[in-house]
């Protein structure tokens, strides 16, 4: 099993990263060697994400489930707990389970649970609570774009040359 090396390269702008990624992908297709690629940037860049490859996003499923749960929770809260239990006696000529009034709470419940589940979905999908690689530079949050690569030891030097060719400003390495 080849040793895996991680390296983190910093670039000045998105165009250079794009070229680097394309060449790396081509090299990977021909010879393999690049195990995983992650781009770290100060702002999102949808076009480059397409070049890197598809990474499906599942946040909306969480949202949908959350919204449905919220709708149900709203209804149960009002109709099942309070009104059906007759702890609130009949009032004002309104029916025991007044649907129009329950609708308001159901609406709010939908939104509340939808929002909460979306945030949870984001945390899970973005793997925010995972332990991330220690290879990081604060310049990524400033103005430079980083490329985190995991390469096999055999292709180590080749990848490095490629990166320098595409005007990488800095390469941080980590032997593991």
């Amino acid at each position: 099993m080849d040793n895996r090396h991680s390296m983190f390269a910093l670039f000045n702008n998105f165009e250079e990263v794009r070229e680097a990624i394309i060449e790396l992908k081509v090299m990977d297709l021909r010879e393999g060697g690049v195990e995983e690629m992650l781009m770290k940037s100060p702002i999102p860049h949808p076009e480059l994400e397409e070049v890197i490859g598809a990474r499906p996003v599942y946040v909306q499923r969480f949202t949908f489930v959350g919204a449905l749960l919220g709708l149900l929770a709203g209804f149960l809260l009002t109709a099942a707990l309070s009104q059906s239990m007759f702890s609130v006696q009949p009032q004002g000529g309104k029916p025991i389970i007044p649907i129009p009034m329950d609708l308001v709470i159901m609406y709010e419940g939908t939104i509340l649970f939808g929002v909460l589940f979306t945030v949870v979905g984001f945390l899970i999908g973005a793997r925010l609570l995972h332990r991330t690689s220690p290879l990081y530079s604060s310049k990524v949050s400033e103005d430079q774009v980083g490329l985190l690569l995991e390469v096999k030891a055999s292709h180590y030097e080749k990848v490095k040359e490629l990166l320098w060719k595409h005007k990488a400003q800095e390469i941080i390495e980590d032997e593991n």
Partner: protein, 284 residues
């Protein structure tokens, strides 16, 4: 356990019988009142009796002027106006009209659904109940009452009663602290005692057996109170005579010589109190 309780509640509710739009069939009791404004002389005896019976707080002149009065039963005075809206001054004593106003125990009470903690609800007897213990004082019920017959304890009035006034308090009813809403209950403490005694004797209450404090003290017997479910009671007969019923609409034709009406009926609150209009010289 909760599911069992839910099922029990629903079964009991269905058994109690829903009649049309209403929750209860009011088989046994349905309290109603008739106030004859022709007999009312505005003497305020009913007001005083209500104060005595229900432990109402006397707030003092200054606070009453500010609008903090706690008079569950109040006599409202209005001046009769002529055709052009001028105040009738020829016979001023004939111009004033008195209307004793207290909680109308509305069937479709507007105050009931708006309480955030459900401190007010409708009883099977047709009364609007106020639960002092549950009230947190949001005062929405009073804002929604078109008759403004709900009174809020803005201060702890009981703290200021000079001794020995507290000796006259009625032990059958609580004394309310600040922050709690209260209103006329048709002397529910008397009704409860009467109903319990009647139940012990395995019968229903007879007409006139329980009197509200206001009815009891009225010198002209202007106030009649009784069980509308009992066809032979005085109030039942009066309601029938004046063509009044729950669900009666104001614009429905009624015989011209009948005087019965309900206050602010067009708001569809279905009050349980019928007023008999005062007969004036010009009308005869």
């Amino acid at each position: 356990m909760t599911i069992r309780r839910m099922i029990e509640n629903w079964t009991a509710f269905r058994k109690s019988g829903q009649v049309g739009d209403e929750y209860y069939d009011h088989k046994d009791y349905r309290w109603g009142m008739v106030i004859d404004l022709n007999s009312c002389i505005g003497c305020n005896a009913c007001v005083t009796a209500c104060y005595a019976e229900n432990n109402l707080a006397v707030v003092g002149r200054e606070r009453f002027g500010r609008g903090l009065g706690m008079h569950w039963m109040r006599i409202e005075r209005y001046w009769h106006t002529g055709e052009k809206g001028e105040v009738e001054t020829r016979y001023p004593e004939q111009g004033a009209q008195y209307i004793p106003m207290m909680c109308q125990q509305c069937e479709h009470a507007t105050c009931e659904p708006v309480c955030p903690v459900a401190a007010t609800y409708h009883t099977p007897d047709g009364l609007n109940a106020q639960v002092y213990n549950r009230c947190i004082g949001s005062r929405y019920c009073s804002n929604n009452c078109p008759y403004k017959v709900r009174y809020f304890n803005f201060y702890s009035y009981y703290k200021n009663w000079p001794s020995p006034l507290e000796q006259q308090l009625n032990p059958d009813i609580s004394v309310r602290d600040k922050g709690v809403m209260e209103k006329c209950t048709f002397c529910v403490q008397r009704l409860r005692r009467g109903k319990n005694e009647a139940k012990n004797e395995e019968r229903l209450l007879r007409d006139g057996e329980v009197q509200t404090a206001c009815q009891q003290s009225c010198p002209t017997q202007a106030i009649s109170f009784g069980n509308l479910s009992d066809e032979n009671s005085k109030v039942s007969k009066l309601w029938q005579k004046h063509n009044m019923s729950f669900g009666h609409k104001e614009n429905e034709k009624q015989p011209k010589n009948e005087r019965g009406y309900r206050a602010l009926e067009e708001l569809n609150t279905e009050p349980s109190v019928m007023y008999l209009e005062r007969v004036r010289d010009e009308d005869i």
